[in-house]
Symmetry: C2
Subunit: 335 residues, 2 copies
């Protein structure tokens, strides 16, 4: 079978094929406890301190879209991977692969956007690299950002999730993915949806100072569904979510419907899923709503004893749906 | 002029156009003291310690060549950038951009090579990322490795270079570049030259334990010429080197001659230039020669008061030649 022997777009989906590639090739050879944890960042001991270290390559197409561009995305994506591990993002690297013939003005605009986003986030770009390939050997520009941050907030993922714990998200899902689709297809939609691309570290820090965050995850490729499935797929607990509680703009839902996308699988770039004790859920929502990136925060479900390893959604029409990982790729080059 | 407005291959050469791109775009917007130092790694304070942090993207073509492959290169390149800053390489990230249709066997071989090289170097790959782009949007696979290491050897680049100091290199130049050219052009050369691709941290550590290393630089894109020019281009001192002292295999010199390359500008992936006090130069060579990666080490020149900011080479035919940066690109996708 072809798919067994060659890379297909689904290997980059964040879904089932991505997991297989990671397990069958990367973990098999690179095998070590830190990598095997498969967290958003590696947690490394450095002389009595713990630092978070993470990497992401960005290949989004188009490189400029409503609400952001590849440069902003490259900063936010890596900042968020550090932030969800309880780290204060400190330093970034930037590696560019440029296509011969790329306009210098385009590169400058992307770099300016990276610089602005980094400045706002309080993170420094301290080391870099540039490669140029012949025309046709990459598509305009690809960016890798790696980041390090000192873990020093009181929250650190400790895996002590229990049945009853509340699952919270900080706002509307699927806006990033549907914005990219719209920009790519040249759809002149009457709606004004924009990518939710944002650095979330101040939101997490604000929440961590008032509430016990048991766990936080950046919701990106593969969407909310993927994050939830990964949370419990090797766990003795399950997850139950309420479809009607999931924040989703009418416009975004409409575009998903029109184009046949499931919003639960559509990418986000400014969304977090957090698990907090049920008793603190109300306070968590209050704190999040005070932050500009959490105005539409919602309590969407719970950790359950029932259905271990599974994510079950109570649908708006009163049914139950088992949430799965994507088996292929619905939207390549989303980030 | 086209070159003023668009990316050309020379922007990735490591030479003059690379410097312009870095100065006019990257430093202009990312501006901070750590980045502005333009060292092989950033030196970062982390709670009383200093760590080195660096990034490199690898786009070498072909991906497998005599003496190495893109995976080995991706580990050695980043290890060496850490090592020349006096750091012990500790942790690496690996970011892959894969072309749809890439054979999984090829990917597996590259990953296996990375794993073996990392293991031998005593460095762990602790975090990663994978993106897949459509067929034709990249060329097989590109790899970014970023690395961090604790700076704790007694040697740390302190810029106290003085006239008279000896300039030393650990072996033959230009083998990597000429190997890639040979592999790319399908030249079935009777010679057996191989890439010098190697992790140099144990060599540096061995030397640092016996000799005062004032400064060390990884000699890669742009070749020996580029490293030497960069060493003094903003300095009150100059450099004088002796062409006859520079280690160069006859076969490599022959291929350079035949194809019109200047070996001083040809890439290496296992070479270091080190500056040591003149009085310790003999000991340095002795120590280097005991290490398998320094068997052909040589004392090639000195820091001078004369010709500030310039590199002058005393040629084999008794003349003097001013060594310059590459103004364009002689060999794209060399690393």
């Amino acid at each position: 079978m072809e798919m067994d022997k060659y890379i297909v777009l689904g290997h980059g989906s964040g879904g089932k094929l991505s997991q297989e590639l990671i397990r069958n090739i990367f973990l098999r050879y690179f095998d070590n406890d830190t990598l095997n944890a498969l967290d958003d960042s590696a947690v490394l001991p450095i002389e009595g301190n713990e630092i978070a270290f993470t990497t992401d390559s960005f290949v989004v197409d188009p490189i400029i879209f409503p609400g952001g561009d590849i440069g902003k995305l490259a900063i936010c994506g890596t900042v968020n991977d550090l932030a969800v591990m309880g780290a204060v993002p400190n330093y970034l690297s930037a590696g560019f692969i440029l296509e011969e013939g790329l306009s210098l003005k385009t590169l400058e605009n992307v770099v300016k956007s990276m610089a602005n986003t980094a400045k706002q986030a309080g993170i420094k770009i301290v080391t870099g690299d540039t490669k140029v390939v012949h025309k046709g050997q990459c598509d305009q520009l690809f960016i890798n950002t790696s980041g390090i941050g000192l873990i020093n907030t009181k929250f650190k993922d400790n895996g002590n999730v229990e049945p009853g714990d509340a699952i919270i998200i900080n706002g509307y899902i699927a806006d990033h993915g549907m914005t990219i689709v719209g920009a790519r297809e040249g759809l002149h939609l009457s709606s004004q949806i924009q990518s939710d691309c944002a650095c979330l570290h101040t939101l997490i820090q604000a929440l961590a100072s008032e509430v016990e965050i048991k766990l936080a995850r950046d919701v990106t490729r593969g969407g909310l569904a993927t994050v939830l499935v990964e949370l419990v797929q090797n766990s003795i607990y399950g997850i139950e979510i309420l479809e009607s509680a999931i924040p989703l703009r009418n416009e975004t839902a409409g575009i998903c419907d029109m184009l046949g996308f499931d919003p639960l699988h559509v990418a986000n770039e400014g969304k977090l899923v957090m698990v907090v004790p049920e008793a603190q859920s109300e306070k968590a929502i209050t704190v999040l709503k005070k932050h500009e990136l959490g105005v539409n925060a919602a309590y969407i479900g719970n950790i359950t004893k029932a259905n271990p390893g599974k994510v079950v959604m109570n649908t708006v029409i009163g049914g139950k749906r088992m949430i799965q990982l994507l088996s292929g790729e619905q939207l390549p080059r989303i980030c």
